[in-house]
Structures are given as structure tokens and as C-alpha cells.
């Protein structure tokens, strides 16, 4: 079952060029049906469905019904959380080192 709390699922989902391509397509314009998404990929309907399921399990794609259609939306929140957890943390030190350097240089200049 999905826990949705799992960074592993997000990293796994992102570790595939087709799925990244699907995310890029949805980033450009989401709220799309499977048929629309499939038409842009050289892949069987079944293959696209399989990739969409992985993206959905990772929380990167959310589906909503609209009448008879199932629409796919990009949910960028898990990527943001990965960014907060993994990117910010490792870039913060450089930024604060630069801020310290700036403070020191300006102090010496005055």
C-alpha cells in the first residue's frame, strides 16, 4: 500500500527517463487524459499506464475524474519536500560561508 511518506518512492519514480519525460509533459500542461499523454510517447498504452501508476504511487501524479474522463494532474509537492530535505541542507553551508565572508570583508572595509 502507498504510504506517501516515502522519499524512496519519489527517487525511484524519478530514476527513469520516460517518467521524467511524463512529468515534464505534465509540467508544461497537466489535466490530461491517458490518451493525450500516450499520443506523445513512443510507447504502448499499457507501458504508459504502468509508468503513470509509479508516479501516482509516489504522489507525483494525482488523478481526478471529470465526467467519464480520468484526468492526470502534476503534484509538485513531493519534489519540493525532497528539495527542502536534500538540496537546501547541502547548499546552505556554502551560502552561509559566503554570507560570513561578505560580513567579514565589509567589516574590514569600514
Amino acid at each position: 500500500m502507498m504510504s506517501g511518506m516515502d522519499d524512496d518512492e519519489v527517487f525511484k519514480a524519478l530514476a527513469d527517463p520516460t517518467r521524467r519525460h511524463l512529468l515534464d509533459r505534465l509540467f508544461a500542461r497537466d489535466r490530461r487524459t491517458l490518451t493525450e499523454l500516450e499520443s506523445e510517447l513512443e510507447m504502448s498504452r499499457f507501458g504508459v499506464m504502468k509508468h503513470l501508476r509509479v508516479l501516482e504511487r509516489a504522489g507525483l501524479v494525482v488523478t481526478r475524474r471529470s465526467g467519464r474522463e480520468k484526468l492526470h494532474y502534476l503534484n509538485p509537492v513531493p519534489i519540493r519536500l525532497i528539495h527542502d530535505r536534500w538540496i537546501d541542507k547541502y547548499t546552505e553551508r556554502q551560502v552561509s560561508a559566503l554570507a560570513d565572508l561578505k560580513a567579514e570583508l565589509e567589516e574590514n572595509a569600514s
Binding site: 504510504s3 511518506m5 494525482v62 481526478r64 503534484n75 509538485p76 509537492v77 519540493r80
Partner: protein, 150 residues
């Protein structure tokens, strides 16, 4: 800038998993003492028939009707970005909060911002970083008890 919103931006869906009870989430969404800590400082009060958002300086940031008030599961209210004069001129849109218990004390929170057809600037302004920032700050607050940047 066009006056109608591209279709794909007229309905926006954001989803996040938060380790909290549905009741805690409900309070965090509807009570000003919580919203002030993650929603850009806005003090938001939601009652069965009214949604009100006040800025730190008591300026009115939001004032709208409530369509669904079903604690602790579903809240639907109107949205008008009154904190910005240009956005405030646009027609009212709608925000739906859905809280679903998942497993291990985790809830799935889905925010759908729709009816943005007549509010293209608002649609751009809340897109991506707007709702994402709010939701990730809400998660941090509920899971650690601390505001994101404080």
C-alpha cells in the same frame, strides 16, 4: 496578459501526506492561531458560513463564503486574493481541502484550487510555489511543531 486562464491552470491540485490526525489538520486549516504560523502570517478563521483571512497588520486578505464545512473531512470556500489589488479585481475562485486518513497516523491532504477561469493572474500567483510553500510549511509545523522559517 490574457484575461482568461489557460485550461490547465484553471484547476490546480496539490497533495501532501502529513503525520497528524484529521482533527489536528482541520484545526490547522480553520483556526487563526495555527494559520498564522504557516500561511504567510495570515490569521484565517473559517466558520460554517464564512471564511476570513487577516494579514499581520489586520488588513483583510480574504473574505469569502463557505460552501462545504464538514469537519474533519472537507472544507470548500471561496478565494479572492485581496492582499494584492490587481489580483483582487479578478473573479472569485474556489478552494477545496480534503482530509483522508491513510495508514500509520498519516493523513492525505488534497487541496484543489479551481474555478480560476476568470482569474488568470491569481492562477499564476498561487501556482507551484504558492500552494507548495504553504503546504510544506503546514507539514513542518504539524510534524515538528515549528514554523518553517522561525
Amino acid at each position: 496578459m490574457s484575461t482568461t486562464t489557460p485550461t490547465h491552470l484553471a484547476t490546480q491540485v496539490y497533495q501532501i501526506f502529513i503525520k497528524a490526525t484529521p482533527e489536528q489538520l482541520w484545526d490547522a486549516i480553520t483556526k487563526p492561531e495555527f494559520t498564522a504560523r504557516y500561511f504567510h502570517g495570515a490569521r484565517i478563521t473559517v466558520t460554517p458560513d464564512h471564511y476570513e483571512s487577516l494579514g499581520p497588520d489586520d488588513a483583510v486578505w480574504g473574505d469569502a463564503g463557505v460552501e462545504v464545512f464538514d469537519p474533519p473531512r472537507k472544507l470548500v470556500h471561496g478565494w479572492r486574493s485581496m492582499y494584492d489589488p490587481t489580483l483582487n479585481e479578478e473573479s472569485e475562485s474556489r478552494v477545496t481541502w480534503e482530509i483522508e486518513p491513510d495508514e500509520d497516523g498519516v493523513c492525505k491532504l488534497t487541496v484543489t484550487h479551481d474555478r480560476l477561469e476568470g482569474a488568470p493572474r491569481t492562477a499564476e500567483a498561487v501556482r507551484g510555489e504558492g500552494w507548495m510553500g504553504v503546504l510544506s510549511a503546514l507539514k513542518t509545523l504539524l510534524e515538528t511543531g515549528k514554523p518553517l522559517n522561525g
